[in-house]
């Protein structure tokens, strides 16, 4: 399934958390049907970390890194934006890793 980011947010600037959430919902709908998703960023001029946190970082609350590696493909995204995305995915892994550790510690105590 190819998802054109532009057609979801209807803007050339992928900036807001709200637009990121729209994309997140679209991705998870397809994951529910076990579909591989290709995110196509063609036509998007700017991508902000807040948008990536909401659309892709949030996926780590439900899916493991290995699942995303197998089910999510990126296309038409610049190396600059990939650098930001790498920071977002690294941060998301830490964030949800820390939260699980925190919850496990809380359960034990």
């Amino acid at each position: 399934m190819i998802i054109k980011v532009f057609s979801i947010i209807d803007k050339v600037h992928a900036v807001s958390t709200e637009d990121g959430e729209k994309l997140y919902r679209k991705i998870t709908e397809n994951f529910e049907m076990s579909q591989v998703v290709e995110l196509n960023f063609d036509g998007i001029k700017l991508i902000l970390s807040a948008f990536l946190n909401a659309s892709i970082g949030q996926l780590y609350s439900r899916y493991e890194s290995s699942y995303l590696q197998q089910h999510l493909i990126l296309s038409h995204i610049s190396n600059e934006d990939l650098t930001t995305l790498k920071k977002v995915t690294d941060r998301a892994k830490e964030y949800f890793g820390d939260r699980k550790n925190f919850e496990n510690t809380a359960k034990r105590t």
Binding site: K11, H13, V15, S16, T17, G20, E21, L46, L48, S49, A50, N53, A54, G57, Q58, Y60, S61, S65, L68, Q69, L72, L74, N79, E80, L82, T83, T84, L85, K86, K87, V88, T89, R91, A92, E94, Y95, F96
Partner: protein, 306 residues
């Protein structure tokens, strides 16, 4: 109109007035002044407040956004604001950067005759597209003003958007004020963004249920991965992305919020506790636009991105 310019003003007994220092720019003394006005007027409603410029000879264009934020709050609280004894040099700056028209909602001139002035404007939370258009029109599209690579433009755009996003998401502010100045000889552009929303200190204190001092709260907030947001959307990247870029660019980041001032300039960090609490947040960004500051990015391996 709740904002008026007056001349020959002399403060009478009991009047609420503030005398602006001689030089207003992005220096500690100027931030102390703005914090003192903000703290003293925070609870005022239905009053008359006079801001007296009789001693002021220099007022950097980018700092008008701070004055804009303070006046905006005073007007929202039903106060009448008088700008008194403005010297012609300062009045020129205010005219050229459309400072007065921000309060009258007049259409802004897109090409001020001082082409080093980046006009003052205000934006609400849903106006990110207008904000981007403003940056494009007033910063990037002026012929001959700035010659910079697309990559540098992109980085500046993203830095300014990160601040816009932070102000509306964490500061919960109604309006955000922006103005700027281009210093051609130094090859620097300064953009100062001011909101009168929830301070960083308030957010951090409420997150930890502790009492941090102003500079400590900012110091915490600018670290990688630090965010006061909870829930399923990770955060804490905005300031660290800006800092990474400004280190390479040899630029400057200043943050003033509550009684904290924090600055990183060419990798050197400075902080200070202000005597008064600024009831909002100021972010000043200085970008080096000299062509030699190219940014090298590392190749990202798509296979390992998740």
């Amino acid at each position: 109109m709740p904002l008026k310019k007056i001349t020959d003003y002399t403060a009478g007994p009991g009047s609420i007035h503030f005398t602006v220092p001689r030089n207003i720019s992005t220096i500690l003394e100027s931030y102390e002044f703005f914090a003192s006005v903000s703290a003293a007027t925070n609870q005022l409603k239905n009053n008359s407040i006079t801001i007296d410029f009789r001693n002021t000879a220099f007022f950097d264009s980018n700092v008008c956004s701070i004055m804009g934020g303070i006046i905006h709050k005073l007007i929202l609280d039903n106060n009448m604001v008088f700008l008194a004894n403005i010297e012609p040099e300062v009045d020129d700056i205010f005219q050229q950067n459309c400072f007065y028209s921000v309060f009258t909602n007049q259409v802004q001139s897109s090409a001020p005759s001082f082409n080093t002035v980046i006009p003052c404007n205000k934006f609400s939370a849903h106006e990110s597209e207008l904000y981007l258009q403003y940056i494009e029109d007033e910063l990037f599209s002026r012929s001959g003003l700035l010659q910079m690579s697309d990559l540098l433009k992109n980085k500046i755009n993203l830095s300014l958007l990160e601040i816009f996003n932070n102000a509306h998401e964490h500061g919960c502010c109604g309006e955000l004020y922006v103005s700027g100045h281009h210093f051609p000889k130094k090859k620097i552009i300064c953009l100062t963004i001011c909101d009168m929303g929830v301070t960083i200190r308030t957010n951090v204190n409420s997150f930890f249920s502790k009492q941090f001092k102003g500079p400590e709260a900012i110091k915490w907030a600018v670290q990688y991965g630090h965010t006061t947001r909870r829930g399923n959307i990770p955060g804490g990247l905005g300031f660290s992305i800006i800092r990474d870029f400004l280190r390479v660019n040899e630029g400057k980041l200043q943050i003033i919020s509550s009684n904290g001032m924090w600055e990183e300039s060419k990798g050197i960090i400075f902080d200070s506790k202000l005597s008064n609490k600024f009831q909002g947040t100021i972010v000043n960004l200085e970008f080096n636009i000299d062509k030699k500051y190219y940014i090298l990015t590392e190749e990202v391996d798509l296979k390992n991105i998740f």
